[in-house]
Symmetry: C3
């Protein structure tokens, strides 16, 4: 594996999940694989779970880790070519990425979308340039349009907790006070769509009108504007807010009640409830669910380690070839 950016970078979902679960059973089994190897984690935006879980995964593999919080250093990167750099950007991504690639064997990059320039965000301009210029394998720590370590984590968590061979999985939009990226739901949708193709899940998306995700992520999914209908017989409900893709980055008023609570949960097949965190309690998701027996959110966050570790392991194995 030379890049981990989307579900397209993985062949068999079942195989990678099983490999992750074997790492979970034996976290230090491959600690010699990363000896003398350096992982660089570059954050253009803040991170808690992603930073800690990826750092821990790397340490389990015996790697050294260096963290660069570029958001707080005011280290503004230029990404455009052909501009005279006489403004506020202090370094071009061509040099910045290339230099980091000299010091690190593998790099991770987190970069949120602008939510203003749809084309720049959806062509993944920054992430792609970083990959192009750094010259080493890159793992996405969440990019403008995807959060693949989260989605792999989610599939691992679903696999661990499913009670039927092919569970019904529902991605359910939820309210928020801010305009959030589409990265997590896009990514979850493309992973679940592929999991559905591979016979692993049955996948439905529920959101209010106006919150349609870009079609490239939702191939094969059942899509509805009726939350109650979607919840019927659900085995897993994945709760997440996102802003509009069509009216890019906008937030439409939603009059219906889209917050999942115990009453709505009675419509499901005693569904397990998931969320990528951080979660706004009693706005996105009710406290009664988060504190009750159906919540998987902490176990899900815990599994972030094994998703990161299986990706790093595959990259290290590829390096050593």
């Amino acid at each position: 594996m030379k890049k981990f950016f989307s579900v397209a970078d993985v062949d068999s979902l079942e195989a990678i999940v099983q490999e992750a679960l074997s790492l979970k059973a034996n976290p230090n089994a491959y600690e010699h694989l990363g000896k003398h190897k350096m992982l660089g984690l570059v954050f253009l935006n803040p991170s808690l779970r992603t930073r800690l879980s990826t750092q821990k995964a790397a340490m389990n593999l015996g790697m050294n880790v260096m963290v660069m919080n570029m958001d707080k250093d005011g280290w503004a990167l230029e990404t455009r070519d052909g501009v005279v750099m006489n403004g506020t950007t202090v370094e071009h991504i061509r040099e910045a990425a290339a230099v980091m690639g000299e010091y690190c064997d593998i790099l991770g990059l987190r970069s949120f979308p602008s939510l203003k320039d749809k084309e720049a965000d959806y062509t993944e301009d920054l992430f792609n340039k970083f990959v192009k210029y750094c010259g080493v394998p890159v793992v996405s720590l969440e990019s403008a349009t995807r959060h693949p370590l989260q989605s792999l984590t989610d599939l691992i968590t679903i696999t661990e907790h499913k009670k039927v061979a092919k569970p019904k999985v529902v991605l359910a939009w939820a309210p928020h006070v801010k305009a959030l990226p589409q990265a997590v739901p896009n990514s979850f949708a493309e992973w679940m769509s592929k999991a559905q193709e591979q016979g692993l899940v049955d996948f439905t998306i529920a959101h209010p009108a106006g919150y349609e995700l870009a079609e490239e992520f939702t191939q094969g999914a059942t899509i509805t504007h009726n939350l109650e209908e979607a919840l019927q017989g659900a085995d897993f409900v994945y709760v997440k807010n996102w802003s509009s893709y069509k009216e890019y980055g906008q937030v439409y008023p939603v009059s219906d009640n889209w917050m999942l609570d115990n009453q709505k949960l009675t419509l499901t097949n005693d569904a397990k409830v998931m969320h990528c965190l951080p979660v706004r309690r009693d706005l996105e998701l009710s406290s009664e669910i988060l504190d009750g027996p159906n919540s998987l959110v902490i176990k899900e966050a815990s599994n972030r380690v094994w998703a990161a570790q299986v990706v790093l392991k595959r990259m290290l194995e590829n390096l050593n070839k």
Copy 2:
């Protein structure tokens, strides 16, 4: 040891000091104890000595360390239950602590008091909730009301430098330009009170009227408003500013001269002078003392490593059981 929050978490003070001194004599003797163990250090407020000394202690024990500076990330935590999180807090401590507990074997937490809400500060609401929800052993890196790693350090330092079996130790209030927490003096007072009970020291507190500490910390101590009187025959003087407990967080004007200098030191038994640092020179404590032979402040700061290391060692031994 599952928690290190106050002197109540330690039975024999003499035993823990001797164990710390044996680690000082042989820093890497237990480096296999922390192998494959992760320490997470969470800072809601800035730190220099605490971060570096605890990191070093963990590395001496062979642990991996991850540092989270949440003060600078604007990662505002919600601690109240039952509120709709539609404001500025981005994550509830229930989730944040639980997730960190999944990635770490031991956690450290630093969180200063508000100095505005006495009840929230003195019930140690934040620290206690963090302990409750994270599910792993927690070491206080200074909380609203206590700084136990500092106090253990101070006892180690007194033990190393005492010339008599039961030295006279004086906690002496000193001036400052800001309103400071009571955590360091509270903690020093409760550790010295217990040390006095165990026959290790004779303990006196001197402060201007209005600067009384909460009584729960000062049981058994001699308390005076007369600095000169307190200094008579002192073997150690521990200099520290704090704001008022009664008029919570307030600073009363003090007309008398409470800054320790060489002249005042002549009243003592050639006392050694201590301070937890950072110290405001010639405001809290005179330069002539800090630069002279009676100052222990650097040796004291150095001992922070062994205080942290003995606490982590005891927690690791408990984990491995």
Copy 3:
């Protein structure tokens, strides 16, 4: 080696370059040298290349590393003696440096000049006090007047890429939008002057009138205000902006075109082009050069690791004696 601050801390330039190149050929050969040793990296100003390369060098040597970003913590240091600290500085460098020296076997310090107080900057007040009070070996990570790890890197890079025994090296001033320190050009000039003395290079400096560097750094160099003249027959062109030393920290308007491009490069002996980075594209240096075959900037940045590693190796060897 107990201090690495200027070219005066190195005897034979050829010997240290060869030692660095042997580390490059075998990065982990000395990984037992740093076992149980702690490197502390103190940044009073931001850093990318220096932090990452020095951290990697230390890890290659088996050291532990702790990073302190004091610029962002608002941990304002007092450096003057005899002042009552009742203002904004929270700790005196006497205590801060001494404490860090207790926790670390070797320290690195980055501190930029004020560009306002020429005397304080050029007496290296802060750096010298830090060295004096910390009590352990100190490596400069760039100080007010010098950046020696960069200059050693540059000499390594020139040695690797030279096609003649004694190449012509030109330091060429370039435009910028901000007033930059003289540290990099000062340091490069003093290293190249010494390299010239030792028969390794032929050294020329080109800058507009008014941009003269302090004479202590440029002994033996040919100095001209004519860029085209300087470029004649050059084997290496080192491009860098700096502000005025005479009118300290000022920026004079420069009407001539001082940006290096491919056309100017035709005057040279197919010169390799160097820059310490970050570089402002098409302001300091043309994109066509940066993206073309004559640029060494990425290889140069990569060599930062070996410069740091040879310095740390020599300090460790001295410690262990």
